[in-house]
């Protein structure tokens, strides 16, 4: 049905005919461009009278060939002249070309530093708002969002039980197995209890659970708050006079702070169980003996430290997740960038806090022989 675009030169005229549309010029674009250029150079008259269709893409094509001015002799129907006229009258803003500038890297560095300070400020703002909200809720306890808190406890806690158990168990078995190989060469079999007990209860359990929960629930929280921003749900809440921080941010932070120590307890127990089984098979240490010596080898301070770490980690993860969620701009790119940043920042902070814990609790819970 559609005729291909044609260009003929006959008796001093350039005659264009056929369909000049984006779809029809694309297959022979290079050839047509060459032909048009040659025709333009030979300064002939243009005859566009027999063109059947001319769309704006092709009009731009012609207009560029003519170096953005009307040819002196041009035969064209009014309708098609109008199409080209529209192209001719388009106002093009000046293109801003990014030139390389020696200040650019400096600016990037500066922006990164300022970004870091803005992030710290933002985190403090979220924290301050939480304190204010808690103060408000103390005076108006009936407004406490119990439903949201318990929903988050279920989603971030109860549903995380299988995966934390599995990972904990495998880590327990692995550590026990590897340590047993070493300890046997020294004949220090019994110290497996000390190693497993302190390593898992004080260090591995909390960090492991925190990393899992940051990846599992931290990302989900950021994405949820982010999508609510993208779809203006947060504005809708605000328009109903409901505080977004009380209804969305606070329950997440409260729930995760409550639930993480419990998960730590659970994961550490399962990891110890894995370690015990491995020790039984490898070193012939009976379960009863293991449990008995665990009480002596691992002072209870370690448990307190482990659980308090869980408390702090849970708070940090939810804090970071909510901060990044609220920072999402209403577009998909920003959503994915902030979700990534949330998980990375949460895990980094968890490790950092863990190091700080290690320094300040160095005098507690290590049995002196």
């Amino acid at each position: 049905m559609s005729e291909p675009p044609r260009l003929q030169i006959e008796s001093g005229r350039v005659v264009l005919s056929g369909d000049w549309t984006l779809a029809s010029i694309l297959p022979t674009l290079a050839v047509l461009a060459q032909q048009l250029d040659d025709a333009q150079k030979s300064c002939l008259d243009w005859d566009l009278g027999t063109i059947t269709r001319l769309d704006s893409a092709a009009a731009v094509f012609l207009w560029r060939t003519w170096n953005e001015s009307w040819p002196s002799k041009l035969l064209i129907s009014d309708m098609h002249r109008h199409v080209i006229l529209r192209v001719a009258e388009t106002s093009l803003p000046n293109a801003v070309h990014g030139r390389w500038d020696f200040r650019r890297p400096l600016e990037t560095l500066g922006a990164a530093v300022i970004g870091l300070f803005l992030m710290l400020r933002g985190l403090v703002v979220v924290y301050g708002q939480l304190l204010l909200d808690l103060g408000y809720l103390l005076r108006h306890p009936q407004e406490m969002p119990w439903k949201e808190v318990s929903a988050t406890i279920y989603k971030a806690g109860a549903q995380a039980l299988p995966v934390t158990a599995l990972v904990g168990f495998l880590i327990g078995v692995t550590i026990s197995y590897l340590s047993a190989l070493q300890l046997r060469t020294f004949g220090a079999d019994l110290f497996i209890v000390n190693i497993l007990g302190i390593a898992i209860i004080r260090e591995l359990g909390p960090v492991l659970v925190a990393v899992l929960v940051a990846g599992r629930s931290g990302s989900a929280m950021t994405a949820q708050i982010g999508v609510m921003r993208v779809t203006e749900e947060i504005d809708a809440l605000a328009a109903m006079g409901i505080s977004r921080s009380i209804r969305i941010v606070l329950p997440k932070m409260v729930a995760l702070t409550i639930v993480l120590p419990l998960l730590v307890m659970w994961a550490s127990s399962i990891a110890l169980l894995g370690g015990m089984l491995s020790a039984l098979l490898q070193l012939d240490i009976s379960l009863g003996f293991f449990v008995d010596s665990l009480q002596r080898a691992v002072p209870v301070a370690n448990l307190v430290i482990g659980l308090s770490k869980g408390l702090v980690f849970g708070f940090v993860i939810a804090w970071v997740a909510c901060y990044f969620g609220l920072r999402v701009k209403p577009n998909t790119e920003s959503l994915s960038a902030n979700t990534t940043a949330s998980v990375v920042t949460a895990i980094t902070l968890v490790i950092l806090v863990d190091a700080i814990f290690a320094i300040f609790t160095r005098n507690f819970g290590i049995p002196q022989l």
Partner: protein, 250 residues
């Protein structure tokens, strides 16, 4: 040109069933080249779903959808792509890419062709912006920074970017002020006479319908109950049409 032309869109015995509910039942619609079909029907009657069928985004549970003579659903790969390149869509909610600026949204399908240079694309984008009465400066804005009506116009500009032969418009004038609605009507009319554009347009706006549609299809009870030229349908006795007649007078 003498050969009987293939209908642009041809739906025969179409049935759509989503989540156990029948949206369309035994629906027939044939749209010929050069027609501007106004698709009317009450809210929730399945107009948007019908457009999704034409695009091949939904699988018909019965019947067939032919686009330019080819079955959209069974057409695979390259063929389907070429088919879809010939049409432009304006979604009801705009569906602009939220991570791209307005300029990049309009340039996106053109860049996908991988044949046009950046200067060409730039001219085309600013031309389309001008056609839909957006200012060049609006090109830099992100979709989230646009007003409701601006989203509609930017989405229309994107739909027009590929110089489509068939335009599917879902409520193109909802959210536009009366003057912009009228210039929209003028724009589509001009394109139609220049390029022989075919348009299927869902609308609730009597003025747009009266000003633009050559044909009207009334969707009710899951079928096209009435289809005919604007004058014929407007004269017919039908509750939906009646509502439009009264809207037009008021």
């Amino acid at each position: 040109m003498t050969a009987p032309s293939i209908p642009v869109v041809e739906m025969r015995g179409l049935a759509t069933r989503i989540g156990g509910r029948d949206i369309h039942r035994n629906l027939d619609l044939v749209v010929e080249k050069g027609q501007v079909v106004g698709l009317v029907g009450s809210s929730g009657s399945g107009k948007t779903t019908l457009l999704r069928q034409i695009l091949g985004l939904l699988q018909p549970s019965e019947g067939q959808v032919r686009l330019f003579g080819q079955d959209v659903v069974t057409a695979g790969g390259e063929m389907r792509r070429n088919l879809l390149r010939r049409l432009g869509v304006l979604f009801q909610g705009g569906a602009l890419f939220s991570a791209l600026s307005v300029f990049d949204n309009i340039a996106f399908p053109l860049r996908e062709l991988r044949r046009l240079d950046e200067d060409w694309i730039r001219r085309l984008v600013y031309l389309k912006l001008q056609m839909v009465e957006l200012e060049p400066a609006h090109g830099k804005l992100m979709p989230a920074e646009l007003s409701g009506g601006m989203v509609k116009r930017a989405a229309l500009a994107r739909a027009l970017a590929m110089e489509p032969e068939l335009l599917l418009l879902d409520e193109p004038t909802a959210g536009l002020d009366p003057e912009r609605s009228r210039s929209f009507v003028a724009l589509i009319r001009a394109l139609k006479s220049e390029l022989g554009l075919t348009v299927i347009m869902v609308t609730h706006d009597p003025e747009t319908l009266a000003g633009l549609a050559t044909h009207i299809a009334v969707l009710a009870g899951g079928r096209i109950e009435t289809f005919g030229s604007q004058a014929d349908v407007m004269a017919a006795e039908h509750p939906v049409v009646e509502a439009f007649r009264q809207g037009g007078k008021g």
